[in-house]
Symmetry: none
Subunit: 200 residues, 4 copies
DNA sequence: TCCTAACCGAGACGGTACGTCACGTCTTCAG
DNA sequence: CTGAAGACGTGACGTACCGTCTCGGTTAGGA
């Protein structure tokens, strides 16, 4: 997102991204303005327009900055050997985070920016969601190799089948987002909709 | 959403909703303004502000008007007895619609408004999504009664597990939205992630 | 300058023009901004842009408003029968006014706007300067009819020859602007540059 | 205006002044910016700010550079012995120049800067206008000594009475600026406003 | 002949103002 | 007496320049 790293003031960059994220959780997405970010960051508007093409791009970079701390080692899901337990734990944490008022507003902002801006969506897929999704696939692959998942399982679809309902319910507010709901997703996804064979 | 139907001119109402929907697909969500809708509809701004509390409400009502034709008989999914075939057919149609440029932008607009406005989300859940979701549940219930689905299956979760990945991929643009992808969702959801027992 | 007098709020108009004139004498022409005028007048910027095409037009109208009080009876120069005394008195008053710090800055602003905007210059010539110049011509014409001025005198040139040097010295600061200087202009203009005939 | 000639690049100085003058006649005074001058001159902004205190000073120096060619010998008005003819010729040339689109805009810019900046006005009076005005006075003085002008004539006032109306009409656009108008000024100024004595 | 200070181009920076758009409220006037 | 038309105060937009401030890279001139 950030263009040529020419003679750019790092302190301003951080101030802008921090201000953007803070404003997001304070006043909500719709009321965040470039002007407001600039004022809060103690920065000229032009400094924002010089380096970011849109409000969405600033917000995106703000998220990127937050996740920069964990750089170096790629993220990984816990792997105790018990897939169901591991998935449940991870989904519980996700539910927790999505319900946290500090993150709810900013993440909705990011989600809707992505929904309206294909370029941003691509950057998201590559820089933010990519590593995470790979970690999810990796956990399933590990279970697959241990014989706990079908050999011919489509890992991409499997990942989306577990996390998709969760994200959907959160974003569309189509129902309460609870740990219990997460549990039902995991068990239902693992067993499938079909009746269990006898002897299982 | 629509308040008391007092002394209200129906022709203006329809003109406003039509203008809103058309503008949505023409210029995109971000560039639709109340002022623009009023101008396009040949209506004073006050006439909009009098009857709708927000831009989102107008958009919502525009969708409501579109689905008004089918009122009377509640919607139902096809039921040939072959669940997999029926689901596949329905999902294919959904993929088609989501990829249709006439509906893509407006539906993104609706999704965004819902994501940021709890009240609108409730109205959506009740008036627009509710009947549809019931139809989906009903189709699964029918299969369940025929013994094709697990007896203790959580129908709500099942519905979200089938449609969630699709909507998510569309809204977040996390991958190509194809009929083939719909197929993979259906088979994966039906079988579950676990290895199949021998003899199946 | 003011376009169609449609449904326009007179109170805002007066507030704008008053604010413009006051700012002019307070902070000087260069530092007067539309934004500043709007803020001081308690008015939206758009209300200024709606009715005036440029900053100069606002300033011009501010002057017009000031001179509106004297409307009705056209201005006239004193006519005691003694031309030299009358001219001297009028020029002294003009010198006084040009040296008054309350009017110096605003009038410089008007003068330079006119210098750069032909349309404004035309409006000035017609609405503000026109009546005044006619009064000057009239006083000379009266003297002419009394036989105190040459029969074939070009009144236009005569007027500019008396007031031109004064305005020039003021605007270009080419020398001190004093009553004594005004006196010298009057006597020199009346006698001309040529040597006086004997017997005069 | 130009500070200590320390280690200063002459080529940049000339490029800046040339760019300033050219821009002045091309885009008009109001649209000339330091940034624009720097860009056109291929020079850093700081190089302008280092050597000139204001935009007006640059413009002033640009005029100074133009008149540098004639340095050495002070300017002089033609002196054929026929004052009226000489004045008419000079005023015709001035009218020509003021009507020349190449000089009109830049000279208005200079006049405006002078009107708003006392310091600049002083520099103008001394460096640019001074020698010229002295030449005008000198021509009148010569006529005076030849007995063609009044012995006690105030030469300063006389000069301003001839050139003042011309400059005024140009700057304020209070009427067409023609050779014929110049003629009328000369004859009126020479004869004065009073009736001619018989026998003249 | 090298060192070092100043000047130079370039352009990022915190700002101010520009002129425009849309907001949501209000007032007017024609049907 | 409704409702279109649109003026109003407000506030954000994205742009242009302001004057200051580094950056490297010349470019002299004193050692």
């Amino acid at each position: 997102m950030t263009p040529s790293p020419a003679r750019r003031r790092e302190s301003s960059r951080r101030a802008i991204l921090t201000a953007a994220f803070d404003l997001l959780s304070e006043v909500g997405y719709a009321k965040v303005s470039i002007e407001g970010i600039a004022a809060r960051a103690g920065v000229g508007k032009q400094t924002i327009y010089r380096w970011w093409p849109s409000k969405g791009a600033v917000i995106f970079d703000a998220f990127l900055m937050l996740s920069e701390g964990n750089e170096g080692e790629p993220p990984a899901l816990p792997d105790t050997g018990d897939l169901e337990a591991d998935l449940t734990a991870v989904l519980h944490a996700t539910v927790e985070e999505l319900n946290d008022p500090r993150y709810d507003q900013p993440m909705r902002a990011l989600a809707t920016e992505i929904a309206h801006d294909a370029e941003l969506a691509a950057a998201y897929a590559e820089r933010l969601d990519g590593p995470l999704k790979e970690a999810k696939r990796q956990r399933l692959r590990s279970a697959q190799q241990a014989g706990h998942l079908a050999e011919d399982l489509d890992l991409d679809v499997a990942v989306e089948m577990i996390w998709g309902p969760l994200l959907n319910r959160w974003l569309q507010r189509s129902g309460p987002l609870t740990a219990e709901y997460a549990d039902r997703i995991v068990t239902t996804a693992l067993h499938g909709l079909r009746p269990r064979r006898s002897g299982e």
